[in-house]
């Protein structure tokens, strides 16, 4: 479902003497449907960079990144957008939303964008928010006013609203209490069970051991220091 072949990435800082900073080289990864792969490696080793490359948020310098048959490294914007709508979900660490939109609609939006009727989408969103212990009185408020933990849970609910065949999870259990953490792990198990291919970053070791089928150390993709 997710196939990376020899992916490399570097940043060119045009405004700082055109410094070229290679950050990744020869990244190769394969995730099958129903499989959850945990990315490990020291902080700064490139775990988030790899996720962003898969999501198309960063532009790969070379290599191929196939997600559901689409090469994200070369696809047109609209192809990537279609991929993000129907195939590839991403739960980032930060919630980015239009101010003023109620939490319920923030969570329902991925469903609306694939044409789910609004009532059905809101119902699903309500179930998810309730499961993640967001009090109902907050549903009609914009999550921009929520606490960090609440925002994180809204973000997770949004990521799991639509059943993406492929999912990227960046620290989904960070800053959650035991009960919510268990709910999130259940959601991940559920996604695996329906056949989603998942790539995740988990600092929480117990969570990592519970949901991941195997681990990939991204330190192996670090650029070799100039020979």
């Amino acid at each position: 479902m997710i196939e990376l072949q020899n992916v490399s990435k570097s940043f060119t800082l045009h405004n700082q003497g055109s410094a070229v900073i290679p950050v990744m080289e020869g990244a190769t990864l394969s995730v099958k449907p129903g499989e959850c792969v945990g990315l490990v490696g020291a902080s700064g080793a490139g775990k988030s960079t790899l996720m962003r490359l898969i999501y198309g948020n960063y532009l790969a310098a070379s290599g191929s990144i196939l997600v559901g048959g689409v090469d994200v490294a070369k696809a047109e914007p609209r192809e990537i957008l279609a991929l993000r709508r129907k195939t590839l979900g991403y739960v980032s660490q930060f919630l980015r939303v239009v101010p003023r939109v109620p939490a319920l609609d923030v969570v329902a939006e991925p469903l609306l964008s694939v044409g789910t009727p609004i009532e059905e989408a809101r119902e699903k969103a309500a179930t998810l928010l309730a499961g993640l212990n967001i009090p109902e009185r907050l549903w009609s408020l914009s999550p921009t006013t929520f606490s960090g933990g609440e925002q994180q849970r809204v973000n997770i609910a949004r990521g799991f609203a639509y059943d993406y065949p492929a999912l990227l999870l960046d620290e989904p259990t960070a800053s959650l209490d035991a009960q919510n953490r268990a709910t999130v792990l259940d959601l991940i198990e559920g996604a695996k069970a329906r056949g989603a291919a998942i790539v995740g970053i988990f600092h929480d070791e117990a969570a990592r051991e519970q949901v991941c089928d195997r681990f990939v150390d991204v330190s192996g993709f670090s650029p070799k220091v100039a020979a």
């Binding site: 045009h14 405004n15 239009v98």
Partner: protein, 256 residues
């Protein structure tokens, strides 16, 4: 799928000075494209060339018309182009007073496009105007008030209603949130996002506000000195800019 708009090698010169040049792109149904760049970068010139307000010196702007399929709007007859401007195209100006008739009531402003395409039933026109006021969150009690009695944000929403009432497929927007308070901007952005999704609109939005394009645009085109320096998926261009100018633009934004 046929692109809704195909822009091929469009150029506009002001004497020896470049307005914009070598601009080509395809816009597909439902896509929202942002054009960013500093003042004088040619983004407004380009928008006006695309919308038929300025005649480009070179290039084609091919629109997929309902009746005849793709037609070059640069060479099409003026009546046909103006008809497009009243039906399938819409143009939202930065200053609402450029896009509204300030001496005509809100209802008359919305109804104008309907009457322009031959609607002759007062009751129907008025009902549709009231419906659109509701959709842009203006109380229908204000239907007979003139826009001069409205706040800036309301005027901008009225301008949007006036433009969308005929169900256009392509909306051109020139700094639609410019000059509005931040809270009013947010409301407008939310409204626009909803309308774009519900009506399946395609849009081209010119702005210098990167926060606006991040929330509204699927794709981004960055312009400098009349040239397109970078294009791509909005979040990719903003988070991983490739061109030096874009990097400068992104790093210049104040973080709140």
């Amino acid at each position: 799928m046929t692109p809704l708009l195909q822009v091929k090698d469009v150029a506009k010169m002001y004497g020896a000075r470049i307005g914009c040049t070598d601009v080509s792109f395809d816009l597909y149904p439902g896509e929202v494209m942002g054009i960013v760049g500093e003042s004088g970068s040619g983004k407004s010139t380009l928008l006006n060339c695309l919308a038929g307000h300025l005649a480009p010196d070179r290039g084609e702007v091919v629109f997929d018309t309902r009746a005849d399929g793709p037609v070059d709007t640069v060479t099409m007859s003026e009546p046909a182009r103006r008809m497009l401007g009243r039906t399938d195209w819409a143009f939202v100006h930065q200053h609402a007073r450029d896009g509204l008739r300030m001496s005509v009531s809100a209802g008359g402003n919305i109804g104008e496009r309907l009457m322009a395409v031959g609607d002759r039933h007062y009751g129907d026109i008025r009902a549709r105007a009231a419906d659109w006021l509701g959709r842009v969150e203006i109380s229908d009690a204000r239907i007979d008030d003139r826009p001069s009695a409205f706040s800036g944000g309301m005027q901008q929403r009225l301008q949007i209603a006036r433009n969308l009432v005929t169900g256009p497929r392509l909306v051109f927007m020139d700094e639609p949130t410019g000059g509005l308070d931040v809270s009013v901007q947010a409301r407008l952005l939310d409204l626009l996002r909803g309308l774009v999704r519900e009506m399946g609109l395609s849009a081209i939005i010119v702005t210098h506000d990167l926060a606006v394009v991040r929330l509204l645009a699927d794709r981004l085109m960055v312009m400098k000195d009349g040239h397109v320096v970078e294009t791509g998926l909005t979040d990719q261009v903003l988070d991983d800019p490739q061109h030096g100018y874009t990097q400068l633009l992104v790093s210049s934004v104040l973080q709140v």
